[in-house]
């Protein structure tokens, strides 16, 4: 699966990934037979409504699963290796060195009894026992400046002495500590006010320009995606329903869900009177509808939609869509 598509090299390739949780009502499928590629040197925006499985997918890429969950099937290939079949020690060395993640609740990522700098030291030493403290300090300061934090004011502080926004930025800095090949950012601005969001997003765009780092940027704010992503994957009910370049997603959306999602967003396309909330609730992940997950809410559904689940079909070099009717609806 590392073959080139559109002349780009595949960095991360997910195939047939299914993640399930045991819940009182039964088995909840948060990710359902999902396929997704991430290319080198790209920022992939991952969007979808709350609860569609974005965070679960992101965590599973680093094989982090809540105790009541399991990875039922699938492969996650990165650099020729399947993350899901690594040994414990291999996995430990892989994490953060190859792929780092900024969690959705990133501001809670720090141990309350340790200074920020001690986290940097811990993380570096876990992957390089011979690392020197002054080198770690130098690198940490560099990274703090990169996320526009004052190194002196942050590194020697305890987590509770920083604001939520400062912590989120400090985690982003820590994510780049070992220069990973892929950075996953799961709604990195969730706890910030709009102004700080804008500022941090701009910082990230700058960092992206400077470092050329590949990223998966998770959000439900399409405006943020437009600013930072090269390509967008739209997730619905535990699967990817459409993946395409940013331009295509915004101006030539193919999946009815993508269209509905765009209509629900102000300021990107259309005016406020066109703004419509998505009709109907998300599918119940414990009892998903048969056929296409979106068909109960879809204005274009036909008989086959409620019977057969559509495959993710290749539209062109970059674009993929999972809809029985994408050809006729275009």
């Amino acid at each position: 699966m590392s073959s080139a598509a559109g002349g780009k090299e595949v960095l991360l390739s997910i195939r047939g990934l299914t993640v399930e949780f045991r819940v009182p009502r039964g088995i909840l499928r948060a990710v359902d037979n999902l396929d997704l590629d991430v290319y080198s040197d790209e920022v992939l925006g991952l969007v979808g409504e709350s609860g569609c499985g974005k965070s679960v997918l992101a965590h599973t890429i680093l094989r982090i699963v809540d105790p009541n969950g399991r990875i039922a099937s699938g492969k996650i290939i990165f650099g020729g290796r399947d993350i899901l079949s690594m040994s414990k020690e291999e996995l430990r060395r892989f994490r953060w060195k190859e792929i780092a993640i900024v969690f959705q609740g990133a501001f809670n990522s720090f141990n309350p009894v340790m200074r920020i700098f001690e986290h940097m030291v811990d993380t570096t030493l876990a992957h390089d026992e011979n690392a020197k403290k002054d080198e770690i300090l130098k690198r940490s300061k560099e990274l703090m400046r990169m996320v526009r934090l004052d190194p002196e004011a942050v590194l020697e502080r305890y987590p509770h002495e920083l604001s939520g926004g400062m912590k989120q930025r400090a985690v982003a800095a820590m994510a780049m500590l070992l220069d990973p090949k892929l950075l996953i950012l799961d709604e990195p601005f969730s706890a910030l006010d709009v102004l700080t969001q804008k500022f941090f997003l701009k910082t990230l765009v700058d960092i992206r320009r400077e470092t050329k780092k590949s990223m998966i940027f998770i959000t439900h704010d399409l405006a943020q995606v437009a600013e930072i992503a090269d390509r967008v994957a739209v997730m619905y009910g535990g699967v990817i329903v459409e993946a395409a370049s940013v331009e295509d997603i915004f101006y030539r959306p193919r999946h009815p869900y993508t269209r509905a999602l765009l209509k629900a967003v102000p300021s990107i396309v259309g005016s406020v009177d066109e703004l419509k909330p998505l009709p109907g609730p998300l599918p119940d992940p414990v009892n998903p509808p048969p056929g296409c997950e979106f068909h109960p809410r879809c204005p274009h559904r036909v008989e086959i939609c409620s019977r057969v689940r559509p495959n993710l079909e290749r539209v062109d070099d970059v674009s993929l869509v999972a809809c029985h009717r994408w050809r006729e609806l275009n």
């Binding site: 982090i64 430990r92 969690f103 809670n108 990522s109 141990n111 309350p112 009894v113 993380t123 876990a126």
Partner: protein
């Protein structure tokens, strides 16, 4: 630094209040202990004047003087170490305290530390291996022993280790050695005599530490920063100690301080069963003998211990948890 002084001042004030309340409560109750002491002497055939002289000698104040004068001379006594005379032992209360305190401090601090450390290790282990055999066995053990009176287990220990197996002495602080000669034989004898009381204390209290540590660890394991540390590829041992253990132990220090503060009152059953000459043993006897000056002195030392332990806990806690550090 300044808050340490403020804390220290507050502790002293608390202690002062406890002593004061204790003094007035007893002096103002009808049928109060001082009157009872006079009655005791009258019953022995002394005249009222003689009884009064005897009681005044035992106490550090004159019971017929106005209350505020009594209080002032009582306070003076506390400050100068004159706590009165024990009626039952005819010895200065301060001397008795000086004799009993080392035995209790020695046996209880060892017990407490062992119990605390064992509880932390086992509790954490159980939190990590929930549902395992060890978890089930220790949970069961903890719930029955925390409800069991210490002297029942103590009897059992004496029966097994002292009577049946004859491995260890059943009672007393030492035997067959001269306590005035501090040598290896003395130390060995003291240690051998301390084994059963310590074991009894540990076995009956470790369950509480285990259960607290287990639930504390479980809640820390659910914290984001633990998952975050795993995501960063930290080694298990580092996560267990610096991330999980360190944070899970924080609430236990408060408990530790409380247990330390109540060490003099908390070993009454054990010290009496093993005839161990600590504060608990004297307290028991003093109550039976209605030895008011001694009871009052024992109360004083307990109050000092509680207040001092709380003060130390505050200092220690602020070292361990940066969130409550005031500088």
């Amino acid at each position: 630094m300044r808050w340490i002084f403020r804390k220290a001042a507050l502790s002293l004030f608390t202690l002062f209040c406890a002593i004061t309340i204790n003094f007035f409560l007893y002096r103002m109750m009808p049928g109060n202990p001082v009157d009872m002491m006079i009655q005791q002497f009258l019953a022995l055939g002394y005249s009222y004047e003689e009884a009064l002289t005897r009681v005044s000698m035992a106490l550090s104040f004159v019971p017929t003087a106005p209350l505020h004068e009594q209080y002032v001379s009582f306070l003076k006594g506390v400050l100068t170490g004159n706590l009165g005379y024990s009626i039952w032992l005819a010895t200065p209360v301060a001397t008795i305290l000086g004799y009993g305190i080392p035995w209790t401090v020695f046996s209880v601090s060892i017990s407490l530390v062992i119990s605390f450390l064992l509880g932390i290790v086992l509790g954490m282990h159980m939190a990590y291996r929930r549902g395992s055999i060890i978890d089930k066995v220790l949970s069961f053990y903890s719930s029955i022993t925390t409800a069991m009176p210490q002297n029942i287990l103590g009897f059992f220990m004496i029966w097994v280790f002292a009577i049946q197996l004859k491995w260890l002495p059943a009672s007393g602080p030492y035997s067959g050695v001269d306590p005035r000669v501090f040598n290896l034989d003395f130390v060995i004898s003291v240690l051998r005599h301390a084994v059963l009381p310590i074991l009894t204390y540990v076995l009956t209290t470790v369950g509480g530490w285990i259960l607290t540590m287990k639930s504390s660890t479980i809640s820390v394991l659910g914290e984001y920063y633990v998952t975050a540390a795993e995501a960063r590829g930290l080694k298990d041992r580092r996560i267990v100690t610096a991330y999980v253990g360190r944070n899970a132990m924080l609430p236990l220090f408060t408990r530790f301080a409380i247990a330390l503060g109540f060490m003099f009152g908390g070993v009454l059953l054990i010290e009496n069963l093993f005839l161990y000459p600590g504060i608990g043993r004297f307290l028991n006897q003093a109550v039976y003998a209605r030895d008011y000056p001694l009871i009052s002195g024992l109360f004083l030392i307990t109050a000092v211990a509680v207040v001092a332990a709380n003060f130390m806990a505050d200092l220690l806690y602020s070292r361990l948890d940066p969130r409550i550090r005031f500088e």
